[in-house]
Symmetry: C2
Subunit: 330 residues, 2 copies
DNA sequence: ACTGATTATGAAAATGTTTTCAATGATTAT
DNA sequence: ATAATCATTGAAAACATTTTCATAATCAGT
């Protein structure tokens, strides 16, 4: 089982390498008759171009590196779906790297994508960006940052405006005179949490008040439920906002356990809709976050940068759409 | 900003390419003093080897292709985590391809991984394997198949034994004289559903009975809930088994809506534990499926094949661990 | 001081493409 | 018929490595 290279195709069809290469790449200059002959040879021999050799000759790989925290994969796997779908359309391949917090050395990952000579890097950064990422900037590699607002020559960013969402949410309650709004925060000091904070604070400031309704919990689901279970024994809130769907579920179960009815006694709102927030009863009012789009748009931006198309907006802000549930019935 | 190649390093450190190459690859023959000189030059110039050129020269890329249905990413994202973690340990990179049912042409994906000259392919196949996958076999590319039992020269497989799980589950109820066991099946005729079926049927056959407790529902969560809502109006079951967590949640909500208490009136069992089955109350008895291991083991097998280590077991069968919840209280 | 063995290095070929430039053959206009 | 243009093709360099084979340098043993 010998390897079939462009040489074998050339010999088989009695032309030079150059011509075969032209046929592969759809160059228009080659005569119809020769093209046919070459194509037949290609099929007959089952030849497939070697992307590695192409990469070397062209100094580009039509490959983009994706760097994403492992937690985010289970949390928002559709990001990857959107990203890959668009990549496929534009004939790019995806080189995947996951970051496991406390384990992975980001430097190694950066080293690896540079070694691999990816044409660009898309990075999902729900934390502050590591300094080492700036290495990529020095390398002049086109970058798209998801979930973080970054601006620079070679960097685009795509993010969800949680700040605005929470701002408007708080504003609408404050207008109705409701100011007992609790916001659940997990310890991880992530971008979304910060945005939610500043949204709430801004809204309250507008009404001349200071916001301080944070409830801090740990990342772990079991302990979150335990905590809330005892929390709701002595606490009541008119409005309760959670970031992740599992936290909202925990809140729902913990509160109803104490006879607090959602939404009559307490409005429960989740910042990230999922199949779970909608399959539970009562349904949990949630923000639908366009995670698929987040990935898709990021990759589209990347292809624009790589093909030197005009990038009108270097910062793309997506909105989370509020989908309130009015009743416990359906 | 000139590109730094091995040539520049060679010049800077006054040695030949060959020597620099040896230093990069940790060859033992180079003199300590020269090694130092070369390493200094590498650091000074910020040189990173070009994996593409290496790939060409060595005819291997230390890269494995991962082919996975997009739905499986959100369903079992931890597969990817396990896979990537192990890949990192063995210095392999992951080339990601997603399959969107009805959209993606598998042939194109196969073409692409062949073009990319990945050293091996890991494919998550919860459906029957497409014929085109056999192309890979002809190409003699080492493969690991997840979720499907396949045997062949160059193919290993790693799967979860849902059949055994359901068999034992049914058996234990039948021994107690309980035979009213309903199994929810979504339309997609996938491997897991089939395994569950044959597990149930085998158990019933052992007791001289024929199993026919399937309930067919659509894939869509909303309509599943709707369906179950009206289903539980007129139906009762002692045991109710669902495959996916969202289906179990829907079943829980729909049944309690009609005053059916879990687990007193009906045992509810989910074949795939998730943070949702455990954060809901009453907790849903579930099988903990080692998804992380599924990925990790697959990749480990792959590295063994690629490094020509001995592969003792070409088929690795993982067990789903039953975690029954005895009470509605906690 | 010389031989043989050993260690360290370099020259050059090989990996599989693309692309530039030159050359050839065909076609058109004069 | 001839020059000029145009369409098609091929030779060879370039891409950045690894590796084989040969050679140079060192060293030990006589």
């Amino acid at each position: 089982m010998k390897k079939i290279t462009i040489y074998e195709v050339a010999r088989e069809s009695n032309v030079s390498l150059a011509t075969v290469s032209r046929v592969i790449n759809g160059s228009s200059v080659v005569k119809e008759e020769t093209r046919k002959r070459v194509e037949e040879a290609i099929n007959k021999l089952g030849y497939r171009p070697n992307a590695i050799a192409q990469g070397l000759a062209l100094s580009k790989t039509t490959t983009v590196g994706l760097i994403i925290p492992s937690t985010s994969i289970s949390f928002s796997g559709r990001v990857i779906n959107g990203l890959c779908d668009v990549a496929k359309i534009y004939d790019y391949s995806v080189y995947l790297h996951t970051i496991t917090e406390g384990v992975t050395d980001i430097k190694e990952i950066i080293d690896d994508v540079i070694k691999a000579r990816v044409d660009g890097v898309i990075i999902y950064a729900d934390k502050d960006l590591d300094d080492s990422v700036k290495l990529l900037e020095e390398y002049n590699i086109p970058m798209v940052v998801m979930c973080n607002r970054v601006s620079s020559e070679n960097i685009c960013s795509v993010f969800v405006d949680y700040k605005k969402a929470v701002y408007e949410l708080c504003e609408s309650y404050l207008q109705k005179g409701i100011e007992d709004i609790a916001i659940l925060q997990d310890h991880r000091n992530d971008v979304v949490s910060n945005l939610m904070r500043s949204g709430a604070e801004e809204a309250f400031r507008k009404f001349g008040k200071e916001y301080k309704g944070y409830i801090e919990v740990s990342k772990d689901n079991r302990s979150t439920y335990k905590f809330l279970k005892s929390y709701f024994k002595n606490h009541k809130h008119q409005v309760f906002v959670a970031n992740r769907d599992s936290q909202a579920l925990a809140a729902l179960n913990a509160s109803t356990g104490h006879g607090i009815k959602v939404p009559e006694d307490m409005e429960l709102i989740c910042m990230n809709e999922s199949k779970y927030t909608s399959s539970v009863r009562p349904e949990i009012s949630s923000y639908v976050v366009p995670t698929y789009d987040l990935g898709a748009i990021s990759m589209r931006l990347m292809t624009k940068m790589l093909k030197d198309e005009q990038v009108e907006e270097k910062e793309k802000c997506l909105n989370a759409i509020y989908s309130p549930k009015a009743t416990t019935k359906d």
